[in-house]
């Protein structure tokens, strides 16, 4: 077991070895002499890039470096760099060169040219990295320069499998400070003063929650980290857990100290095997060093953490359902008679917080509540991590100060809409959230502002939609999700969402009726007011918000039997324009022989026979087949 002194020593010793990595943070080289000869290749091991087997890439780099006899080059894998769209991503330090879409076969070239001859491989540079002929430092690329990283502070820098690198960047210093110098009340007050609000969706003030559990006497208390990440289109928590697992462990231990708990659980979805693996390693390392377990850092504070796996039920992200699941039952929400901060897991006072919430706690303890409050807005302090996805150019992971506008996130950081189509809406908050149209793009993103315009901050999923996306179909998609995931306890949620889905399916199939919109609205009201948990209470939001902002699209489906976005198959007609060169490919690919025409003459589709499979469109060499 180590002492506070030894912790400091580990920090200093490891820091010395990390000077090139710190360059990423400070843009200056600590040890100028050494750095001139030394180079660091940093490979992104985030969820996106990891799928292309980064370990193999690392090995290939090392092999070539050895062959070339280079001695001062280090190759390291770190957590998500954020720019998943252009992955696999690689950075070279100290110069801060950012290479994208690097394939296995490109590696030798990077070593031979860049490392041996000091010539940048321009064809692999990230698109954002060149401006008026000059190559920019990675931190100056548009995608990064508007971001501010607190929860992701170490992601993409440290080696997630090495606790020492976490310690080097102030890791476990907050815990050491709290348990040796601060009382439980002081820790709670600091979190309260920072105005940190839960990042799992609802935005409940974290400090107040902790205080409630602290004040309630019990022989046993628990801390739970909610890593169920149920929003179908979001991966913030996954990236934190995989890129910087110790920040979550430290946040949990701090919570444990503050409320007086000795046991923590991380409830993580089973779909994230990589995160589970890295957490297991992190917990083991922390225990070996005595930063978790009995008598942490020689004090009388003990805290242990166990992993529990979810099994694919969205409702288990809800606090009480999650507790039911940990206890080994069906994950159904409990009636809220008693607060979980009083009676939670196994009937004991329990604090449940989101992954990102916990990751924010150590920096607050170290830098103070005022520092945290100076970032963000009055309503919401600090930053928020978003998973930017859908029809935006730079899909990936971004962290911005609260109060950044949607436009800045989507157009400045995200680079705008792909294929230069027109922006239509942005969906935030997943199945509990709503769709925000163009006129509200200048809304600052914080808890209060988003709920004012009919959406929610949610956990951080942000899906950008363009003119080719049908809003009725998007509402249908989310309802389909809720129907699948409702636990079935409450009738309005179980039956009401089904009725809504049926109506939406009818509308997208071109069989909508005049009374359908009224019926959707009244169902929305009943489901919202008559459900026990957040899943049911917010299930109608995707419908309510699209009805509010895109009513004309619903009406076009119902009255004109037309899908303005050209997305609903049933309402489309395939048509061959005069671009047709008569190659007969379409006629041969049509599974129902609905296309007629002679060689070298324009072909025609028999709309009666056509099953709208789109096969003709796919094979047409000149793009003559269109949907209309």
């Amino acid at each position: 077991m180590i002492t506070v002194e030894e912790l400091k020593k580990i920090r200093e010793n490891t820091l010395k070895k990390m000077d090139l990595k710190l360059h990423k943070l400070q843009e200056e080289i600590l040890d100028k002499e050494g750095a001139l000869n030394k180079k660091l290749i940093l490979i992104c091991g985030g969820p996106g890039c990891h799928s292309s087997n980064v370990e193999e890439m690392k090995a290939r780099f090392e092999k070539r470096i050895l062959e070339k006899g280079l001695i001062h080059v280090e190759v390291s894998i770190a957590g998500c760099f954020g720019l998943c769209e252009s992955g696999p991503n690689i950075e070279v330090y100290p110069e801060g060169i950012f290479y994208s879409r690097v394939k296995m076969d490109d590696i030798d070239e990077i070593v031979d040219k860049h490392l041996c001859e000091n010539v940048v491989v321009e064809r692999l540079l990230n698109e954002g990295a060149i401006e008026s002929g000059k190559i920019k430092h990675v931190s100056q690329v548009n995608f990064y320069n508007k971001q501010k990283k607190i929860a992701l502070r170490n992601c993409g820098i440290i080696d997630y499998n090495d606790i020492k690198e976490y310690i080097a960047l102030d890791g476990y210093q907050a815990l050491a400070k709290a348990i040796t110098e601060m009382t439980q009340e002081e820790v709670i007050n600091m979190v309260k003063d920072s105005n940190l609000r839960g990042r799992g969706g609802a935005g409940f003030p974290t400090g107040r929650k902790w205080e409630t559990a602290f004040k309630y006497d019990a022989d046993q208390k628990y801390v739970i980290c909610n890593a169920d990440e149920g929003d179908p289109g979001a991966f913030m928590d996954r990236s934190i857990l995989e890129g910087d697992p110790h920040s979550v462990l430290e946040g949990m231990a701090l919570c444990g100290y503050a409320i007086g708990a000795e046991q923590g659980y991380i409830y993580i979805r089973a779909e994230y095997p990589v995160a589970v693996e890295r957490l297991k390693i992190a917990i083991k390392q922390a225990k070996e060093m005595g930063l978790l377990g009995r008598n942490i850092l020689g004090t009388d504070f003990s805290f242990d953490i166990e992993l529990r796996l979810g099994a694919g039920a969205f409702v288990c992200g809800e606090g009480t359902a999650l507790m039911e699941s940990i206890e080994g039952r069906r994950g159904m929400p409990r009636p809220k008679v008693e607060r979980t901060a009083h009676k939670g897991l196994w009937g004991k006072p329990t604090i449940i917080n989101n992954v990102e919430t916990f990751a924010n706690v150590p920096p607050i303890l170290l830098k103070g509540a005022d520092w945290f409050r100076s970032i963000g807005t009055e309503d919401s302090s600090g930053t928020k991590v978003f998973a930017l996805g859908g029809k935006v150019k730079n899909t990936g992971l971004v962290e911005v100060p609260m109060g950044t506008t949607l436009r800045e996130i989507i157009f400045d950081i995200g680079g705008g809409i792909e294929k230069d189509r027109k922006f239509k809406a942005v969906q935030t908050g997943g199945p509990s959230g709503g769709c925000i149209p163009e006129e509200y793009l200048d809304t600052p993103v914080d808890f209060g502002s988003l709920s004012k315009i009919g959406s929610i901050m949610g956990s951080g999923g942000m899906i950008v939609l363009d003119e080719s996306d049908c809003m009725v179909d998007i509402a249908r998609f989310f309802l389909d999700f809720t129907v699948d995931e409702s636990c079935g306890k409450c009738v309005p949620c179980r039956e009401g969402t089904k009725r809504m889905l049926e109506i939406l399916e009818r509308i997208t199939a071109g069989e909508g009726r005049a009374e359908d919109l009224d019926r959707l609205e009244s169902l929305a009201e009943i489901i919202t007011s008559g459900s026990l948990c957040g899943l049911g209470q917010t299930a109608a939001n995707p419908v309510i918000s699209t009805l509010k902002y895109f009513r004309d699209e619903y009406e076009a489906h119902i009255y004109d039997k037309r899908c303005p976005a050209g997305a609903c198959q049933a309402l489309l007609e395939f048509y061959i324009t005069d671009k047709c060169i008569g190659c007969t490919k379409c006629a041969r690919s049509c599974p129902v022989s609905a296309i007629r025409g002679k060689v070298k003459e324009r072909h025609v589709i028999d709309t009666e026979k056509c099953i709208k499979c789109g096969a003709c469109m796919e094979v047409c060499p000149v793009g003559a087949v269109i949907k209309r």
């Binding site: 799928s51 089973a270 069906r330």
Partner: protein, 161 residues
Amino acid sequence: MKFNFNWEGNRNKIQKLMDFMKENRSKKGILMMALHETQDLFGYIPLEIMELISKELKTPLSEIYGVATFYSQFSLVPKGENVIGVCLGTACYVKGGQDILAKLEELLAIKEGQTTPDGKFSIDATRCLGACGLAPVMMINNKIYGKLTLDKVEEIINSYR
């Protein structure tokens, strides 16, 4: 369909499961963990094993069955040798995840939730796999394939045949 559980052939796995339960006996909420272990070991949750767990934990079979059927990750029937999970999360849906699923169903001539008669493939529709930046995405036995196109899907499947 009825499956005959092979007690003899599964003796090792059963032993492993029993060891796991013994090791974790003191931990609270062991049922979920036992079901995960079962799913990992056998690839599904055989009724026979649920009966064993029921005896071991002194928990009624009906309760275990209730838990096992609540969670979509637990399967009560054997899966294919290669389990394909097609992401139908939001990011993938708006980028054509549905078409990827349709292509797979056509290629393998089975529907989502089914297994090919030769037991080689099964297709599941899943929610977000956490690689939304690469949408549309599918996962085959824990390996992620991103930025899929219909042609790429065919190529990938052929590499598993």
